[in-house]
Symmetry: C2
Subunit: 200 residues, 2 copies
Amino acid sequence: MAEHSPLLTQLIDSLKLLPGVGQKSAQRMALHLLKVDRHKAMKLGQNICEAVEKIQHCSQCRNYTEQDLCEICCNPNRKSTQMCVVETPTDLMAIENGTSYNGVYFVLMGKLSPLDGVGPDQLGLDKLEARLQSGDLEEIILATSSTMEGEVTAHVIAEMAKQNGLRTTRLAQGVPIGGELEYIDLNTLSQALDTRTDYK
Amino acid sequence: MAEHSPLLTQLIDSLKLLPGVGQKSAQRMALHLLKVDRHKAMKLGQNICEAVEKIQHCSQCRNYTEQDLCEICCNPNRKSTQMCVVETPTDLMAIENGTSYNGVYFVLMGKLSPLDGVGPDQLGLDKLEARLQSGDLEEIILATSSTMEGEVTAHVIAEMAKQNGLRTTRLAQGVPIGGELEYIDLNTLSQALDTRTDYK
């Protein structure tokens, strides 16, 4: 039984680093990279190296950036008194693309989950605390996810904000737009009824 | 509406080169690469560059290798009078892993498909012809796939082999082992009946 050439085997092994990629997909990807335009494939390799080497966390909001401050923190047109706390850069992008929010962010890069070894240090809560105490902020919007860990994380941050006398808000919870009642889970439905709003 | 940092955007764009990876998966992969062990991510980038730079086709069988001759062609224990013609390196690996075949190979890197611009030149049929004429071979096993293009490719190669007076065989066709008759397509079933063998 023969094997792929050493370099090819090595490439297949490292492609398994990508999320959701096992032996079969890695093999398919490796053969694809050797088949397509080699300049593009080489560029992919170089881009990975460059990104991994240069991209760090923004020193203010912890989002990924190759500068000291990310573009949102640098932008003078953004309302720097309003801060939205999100779990991941993907969540940040979702808010940027889907809403007209124009404040700044704080990216936790995770959520409190002691069993997985994620505590206040991993989420940069000391950095967040410093910003809350700075006196530059008026409102903290808690946009962590609506899971158990997300709620706990939101609660901890809300306590920190309260101690600094800041207005703290949470994304509204309820029935998703376009959602059919019969398919919505009972917790959501029950809460949506409890927190019903006046019909406008 | 903000965007990811330029380097991150560039990384996401190049990840879309991978097969079956669109914007969402590319974004997920990029953020994953920044989150995991950066040494491993860097190694992935380097491995891609190294593989793309050094891996070429074996000068004898066209399989991928970083040497002039691949390991199978170099191996003196393989029966060099028997040659199996396959479409891709993946097919070669399938035969290596699933069978006890101990001859050599010729990898077409595709199948005849004029509409996609794949003709005899792209499949290295001139190189195959030279090997058929060399007088070193006794048997050609046609292991192209059982599709229309695969059959046409097999037919063309069989004609070439016949002109050189070589024994030419084709993978057996019929009911797959473990296959239930009711789910097998009618062409296969009909052919399996026509080419039935004596019960041993």
